[in-house]
Symmetry: D2
Subunit: 315 residues, 4 copies
């Protein structure tokens, strides 16, 4: 082997973490003939006294990533999956409290929603229900997200979503902006406003002594308020719409102190039909892929600390 | 330039086609304050007297792909988009009848569905409606597909969908199969059956003298029957379920003569929890990515000709 | 269970096939300290006497897809992987000859190429070689493809590649085309020509009595001739370039009778810099995503039959 | 419009930024017949006095994202693209110094490498060169990355790469780790070590008064040292290999103070061939997709500050 730098040499180890990413777990719960599904993608990241494994390769402090995978599946059986948040809390607590060298755990979860398949008339008479109790179709709309972080003392829970595409076909303008030598854009007084929402919201629940939020209801309500703010804001800029989406969540959900959005402006360009002798009265648009405007901001309850990082990660 | 083969040399041109792929067109229709959206991805492929452009580079018979793009947008204005099928029929007819060298047009369309955003209570009182009339969220479930082919005389319309993920959490078995030297699989008497449906169905409408189907209703009904057959079949093999899905469509929809499915068996493996002292009573599954069983078949009305190709293309 | 259609009812089964798709197999061969890698993604599709499994769910004729997966891995050990083509031939022959109900096997393989990592000076003295003999970096350029089909009597081998992006920054023109009411494109006398090559070529080897090609050399040479034809053709249309690419392969490789390409015209639009007082002398381009021209054609040895399907599949 | 929260209410704006993402610019430079390509994907993010546009929708301080796109293309002409880093520095300086409300610019760039196509013998005699001077094939290996941040006073440049897949087929072990109730993994004394490198390195160049690094040479050398460290480290853990990769860069490149890697452990599982009567002597592996171990760490020059964020972003 070649000579390489070793402890004592002037190269140090900084922040580090390890774990098993993207454990796909599906949990079925049976209530008689009626089945329920929780479908998650769980990623575990652990950190603590891990210098040696980097410097010398000693694994004496390393709980294998394979074991963290096994724990995800075992806990799905032992504790069930009441909500992604609650499941992540179980996991994070376990790793930090059961392994002395592990000081911090971060659990990230994606959740995919399913809805029931309607029964045919013949079958609904047969089974006495309008939906087949063990048959599902993936909803396919947004991917729900949560991230739980625990350092043995306090909790941070950030939930949210990605992949939710929305559009207002009117009530959006863009004018009055700075013009410089490189500006060619024309002002718009009635444009399509469309984006693919990536949003995260941070809960103010931080400790076991506080009552935890109702995670499922909180998600459903935050999503609803965000969508309504998008739909009901007469927009002079995508930034204004973003702020309203965040403010609506904070004003309606006491358990949430901070919201961050990353909103690509999915440009819909009005097609110039004049060369063909046609007038395009805001009817026909070209939906462009790249480039896209990208608007990102944090909206905060007054007095709250900003903790969601500027760059939202994909998972 | 280097010497290259020319006509006269023994290398011939075979099947060829050209066009503009993936024209993203969004069409807004206004009924007072109420807006409607059609959101399509349109691909044009043309063929005919095109030997010269391949042999010598002469473009004398070539309508540019850029022109076909313009035509998509212009027709969205001139004719509107009643259904993807009807829109594709307009386009195919135009290219074949307006350009003498073009003998055949194939239009492929992907359609993305949208649903309305519910209004907040305050706003629904204000606007007098439960939904914001110009605000939409992309449904995000399946991608609807159609392919229209026209040779100047007869039509072929094949519609369908992709990306629709479905699951039965019980009522699926797999046993009684062939065992050879390489077989290690254990028989299953209660397994999860999950797949991502890619399906195509061919209409028996072939000519302008026949009454065309109601394309929108046909899609909605074919999708419904297919989902119900998936849900209601007690499955001894994915092949059996596939056949039932196709047969249900053909039995209920007189306008459809042929159905083909490509169904990846999205394996959900029961996790072995015994090493942890736990019993997995069909509760905790690992959802695997690759490899996957892949089941493909055509289901036909008796007497109908099989014309959908064995390999379904992605678009 | 609900009533469903059964044999006797007028819904018939058409073409069908099944198997295990995307078996990722990595085979290491050791020649002393020097390791070699073959890295494949193998998909198996089988067909034959399979009516019963569709109609009644009887698996009596079904070799499980799990067994076909096992066979891929076992054969990688027993026979090694000399070339993707040779490996696919072993597999296809096995399935058809060992299972009476299986009449036809189609093996599709993707291959990912690797190259060795150069040793540092210190280490190359230590190991006596310029490259580390067990260390590799994935080449990452094209994905090599092959498809082997066997019906118990004759073979069809179609090889090729996808994902190979090429560009000529000059020597490409486009003019003299048809202009209709919807044409706005301006003629171009010096444009960028770029495409992402998806190509397939069919071998005229069909039977065990013929000497099989040297599959590895054939691939390397076909790829080289194709690239050189792309580079050396002064292009008046992408169709012309496509024909030259195919003709060059057929003229140089006696073992290949038919070539098909699907070539997206990856548009590079000259950016209009005049509003900024700048002249764009074919220097600055916008690389567009969608839509794209799509040019597809088959090139054939005179007298050969065209058998590669018009729609190239992704795998 | 519905009532929405306004300034004065207790919801505040936090960190925010905006700009045009993914501007695809291709720059051709001609040296006689010899062309050179720079192929970039440029994303602009700006921040500063932007409260009003969020609270009220006033765009008085907003340079449109469309203008930032135009600037990318205009600068490609005016200044050329010597390196991605130098190009990003030009852009960042421009936005911060030319627009009073903009206090900070962050430019992210992806670069795609191209190599020349070899000429055929006939043509190389004709053109007097072994390579066609205007013909290129995309290298397709890693994507090169850089991020330039400027606040009007000091610079931060972080470069790196993603998508580089590497493998050692031996010289990797994993044993001596923690075992708990959920541990089933067996110790490994000769395993494949494979990963897809995502790495970032921070330069200690921060101000115009310092001599800037040779960006092109720095990239080439950092990449080389990183690959050699991967190949030449006898690995007892992926963490150890990661540390060596970072240390090798810092020890050899004085201009770099900090390196961070995110290394998915691309598991290659030895296939159990015993059921088939075969011995798998480290020859046949199954390459798994998910889940994967994920190892992330920062390596620092002694005394340097850690500034690269723990979560590497994709672009």
């Amino acid at each position: 082997m070649t000579a390489t730098s070793r402890p004592g040499r002037p190269v140090l180890l900084g922040q580090n973490q390890y774990g098993k990413a993207e454990n796909r777990v599906v949990r079925i719960t049976r209530d008689g003939d009626t089945h329920r599904i929780k479908d998650l993608n769980v990623s575990v990241a652990l950190s603590g006294d891990m210098d040696d494994v980097h410097y010398s390769g000693s694994n004496a402090n390393v709980l294998p990533t394979d074991t963290t995978k096994n724990t995800v599946y075992a806990f799905a059986k032992e504790y069930g999956i009441e909500s992604a948040e609650q499941f992540g809390i179980h996991l994070a607590r376990h790793f930090v409290t059961s392994q002395e060298p592990i000081h911090r755990a971060r659990i990230r979860i994606e959740e995919y929603a399913w809805e029931r398949i309607a029964a045919s008339d013949a079958n609904s008479r047969f089974i006495g229900a309008d939906e087949v109790r063990h048959s599902f179709v993936r909803k396919g709309q947004e991917t729900r997200l949560t991230q739980i972080t625990y350092d043995g003392e306090s909790w941070e829970v950030v939930s949210g979503l990605k992949d939710l595409v929305v559009m207002n076909s009117t009530n959006s303008e863009f004018w009055g902006y700075v013009k410089d030598r490189y500006t060619t854009l024309r002002e718009a007084y009635d444009r399509i406003l469309a984006t693919e929402v990536s949003g995260r919201w941070r809960f103010n629940w931080t400790g076991d002594e506080q009552k935890a939020p109702n995670w499922e209801k909180s998600y459903e309500q935050a999503r609803k308020h965000m969508l309504q703010a998008f739909a009901e804001t007469y927009s002079l800029s995508l930034q204004q719409t973003l702020y309203q989406m965040g403010a609506r969540i904070i004003n309606h959900r006491a358990e949430i102190d901070e919201v961050r959005f990353s909103l690509p402006n999915k440009h819909h360009f009005l097609v110039d039909l004049e060369p063909f002798g046609l007038k395009n009265d805001n009817e026909v648009y070209f939906a462009a892929d790249r480039p896209y405007g990208l608007i990102e901001a944090t909206v905060l309850r007054d007095g709250a600390e900003a903790r969601i990082p500027a760059d939202l990660t994909n998972l």
